[in-house]
């Protein structure tokens, strides 16, 4: 609005005016730093404002945290189930139980023959004596087994198919091993691993859907909270608009509030998740020990944790944006 710009006559208004004249040009560099200052002021001010009503803010934070922690927990659970599946998938070995009557030499010959095949990587022979002593060591039934008059365990060949064997090849190999003259039975525990993988796939879609629903819920929760905040500061918004505050200026503190709700909730969600995992860790460890497994609970990686908190923050921001956009337009000076 050029014609309204300070006329030389009005410039004499106060002593401060002469000093202020250089400022009134407000070069872009100064504007930029004022803009940055307003951003950091808004960020700090809106956080302090939240902390001034601790109970109310804590409730919102908890709601955000729970809505964030729920899909995150399910995701971590899936992560663990999946890794459990991989543990077994890696050992997709076939146990071939040999007929008790089979001769030792015949078994060795067959084993050598099998080792030479391209679709088999290793073959380990476990004699009945070896099997019994292993069983005694790990089953805790040592004393009882001592009383057995004869070894009930058959000799076993542990056949590890080569890595590139697909499901079909494995089935073929399994049938071949079962039908061999020396073999009593051959077992492959792949089927349920495959089913597990399918279930995990299905469940992860479910988690994704749930996460999307909860994200929508979060958007509404934060949006509604911000709407109330906008209502509460109606007078201030009116005055700011009348003295020339842009929409962006008015919006800014509310956007930061939304961001804080999201980030805070995300952090609390991480905390909840860590607490839950810590609570489960001891029982899982003892269970794993029982199964002689190296398995331990997996948590969210650092990157995933950051992503979780950031996503919650962005959802908070988006919720605030929607609410402020809708309600600011209704608050116009009259």
């Amino acid at each position: 609005m050029k014609p309204l710009k300070r006329s030389p006559a009005s410039r004499r208004k106060t002593p401060a005016r002469a000093k202020g004249a250089s400022q009134s040009k407000n070069p872009w560099r100064q504007r930029l730093s004022a803009w940055q200052a307003h951003h950091s002021d808004c960020a700090i001010e809106s956080l302090l404002r939240l902390l001034r009503t601790p109970l109310q803010s804590a409730l919102t934070w908890l709601v955000v945290a729970i809505a964030t922690a729920l899909p995150a927990t399910l995701y971590v659970a899936l992560l663990n189930i999946e890794s459990l599946g991989y543990h077994w998938q890696d050992s997709n070995q076939i146990s071939v139980f040999i007929k008790p009557a089979a001769k030792h030499e015949a078994i060795q010959k067959w084993a050598t023959h099998l080792r030479a095949r391209a679709d088999i990587s290793t073959v380990v022979y476990v004699s009945p004596e070896q099997a019994l002593s292993e069983f005694q060591t790990y089953s805790g039934l040592g004393a009882v087994l001592d009383d057995l008059s004869e070894n009930p365990l058959p000799p076993v060949l542990l056949v590890q198919p080569s890595d590139n064997a697909d499901a079909e090849a494995l089935e073929g190999l399994l049938i071949e091993l079962t039908e061999h003259g020396l073999s009593d039975e051959a077992r492959l525990d792949m089927m349920w691993v495959k089913r597990l993988a399918q279930l995990v796939e299905l469940a992860s879609r479910g988690v994704f859907f749930l996460a999307a629903l909860l994200a929508l819920g979060l958007l509404l929760v934060v949006g509604n909270t911000i709407r109330l905040a906008v209502e509460n500061r109606r007078d201030e918004i009116l005055v700011v608009k009348l003295v020339g505050g842009t929409d962006a200026y008015v919006r800014r503190p509310f956007l930061y509030t939304g961001l804080w709700y999201g980030l805070g909730g995300g952090l609390i969600a991480l905390l909840l998740l860590a607490l839950g995992l810590a609570w489960l860790e001891a029982p899982v460890a003892s269970l794993a020990e029982l199964y002689q497994s190296q398995f331990s609970l997996k948590s969210l990686s650092l990157t995933h944790s950051l992503q979780l908190v950031l996503t919650a923050g962005l959802i908070g921001l988006a919720g605030a944006w929607l609410a402020v956009g809708r309600h600011l337009a209704h608050i116009a000076p009259r």
Binding site: M1, K2, L4, T14, G20, S24, W35, V239, V243
Partner: protein, 222 residues
């Protein structure tokens, strides 16, 4: 500074608040706007502030056709106009200083600059010693002076005052008017809407009289 040409404002209710108004206020003038309530004083102020747009006609402020000002530019446009309200519209959750500083913060001034300008404005209205207090603790007259400091802190060329003495006793009203006159003497164009006939007569300034949406006296400079 202000020029209305054939301005009509009709509200959605069908009520015609201003009818074919022509007026001209020159730069540096001090003008009183009078008339019964409902005569169109507030509508005129709102049109100047771009809180409302005319249904018809043309409004020029500072030589600029307001019709050309887009919605997104209204905020910047308002920074060059100071407004004083009857109920002063101070924010009670912050100090006097922060209230006066608001237009400067909004306009992106540097904090050092803000401090200097706010103190200069508070000094002018005689409330420099109250900069830290909350406006709630001030008297009505003092609150209005804070409102005036806020209106002039950005050194606008035009100041609008809507019933600035409406809630004040005659002595305080006179005090407020003296302040306005001082600003006017420094070159600020002032438009003061008021009912207070005694006050107007004593001030000896141009009076723009409105009745039923029409200007019935004082449409052009004396």
């Amino acid at each position: 500074m202000i020029r209305f040409q054939n301005v009509t404002k009709r509200y959605a209710t069908g009520q015609e608040a201003l009818s074919r108004v022509d007026l001209h206020i020159e730069r540096g003038e001090m003008v009183f706007l009078t008339g019964h309530s409902g005569a169109g004083k507030s509508t005129m102020m709102k049109l100047i502030m771009l809180m409302e747009r005319p249904s018809n006609g043309r409004i020029e402020i500072g030589g600029r056709d307001t019709d050309s000002i887009k919605r997104s530019s209204i905020a910047h446009y308002r920074r060059d106009i100071g407004v004083v309200f009857q109920n002063h519209q101070l924010l009670l959750d912050r100090s006097v200083f922060e209230n006066v500083a608001l237009p400067l913060r909004v306009a992106g001034y540097h904090s050092a600059d803000i401090g200097r300008r706010v103190r200069a404005a508070l000094d002018k209205v005689g409330l420099l010693h109250k900069e830290r207090v909350n406006p709630v603790t001030l008297s009505g007259g003092e609150q209005q002076r804070v409102g005036i400091a806020r209106a002039v802190v950005n050194k606008p060329a035009l100041v609008l005052a809507d019933e600035p003495t409406g809630n004040l006793d005659p002595a305080l009203s006179a005090e407020i008017m003296t302040l306005f006159r001082q600003f006017n003497e420094l070159g600020v164009t002032l438009m003061v809407a008021t009912h207070d006939i005694d006050l107007i007569e004593r001030m000896n300034k141009r009076v723009l009289q409105l009745a039923e949406g029409r200007v019935i006296a004082g449409a052009t400079p004396l």
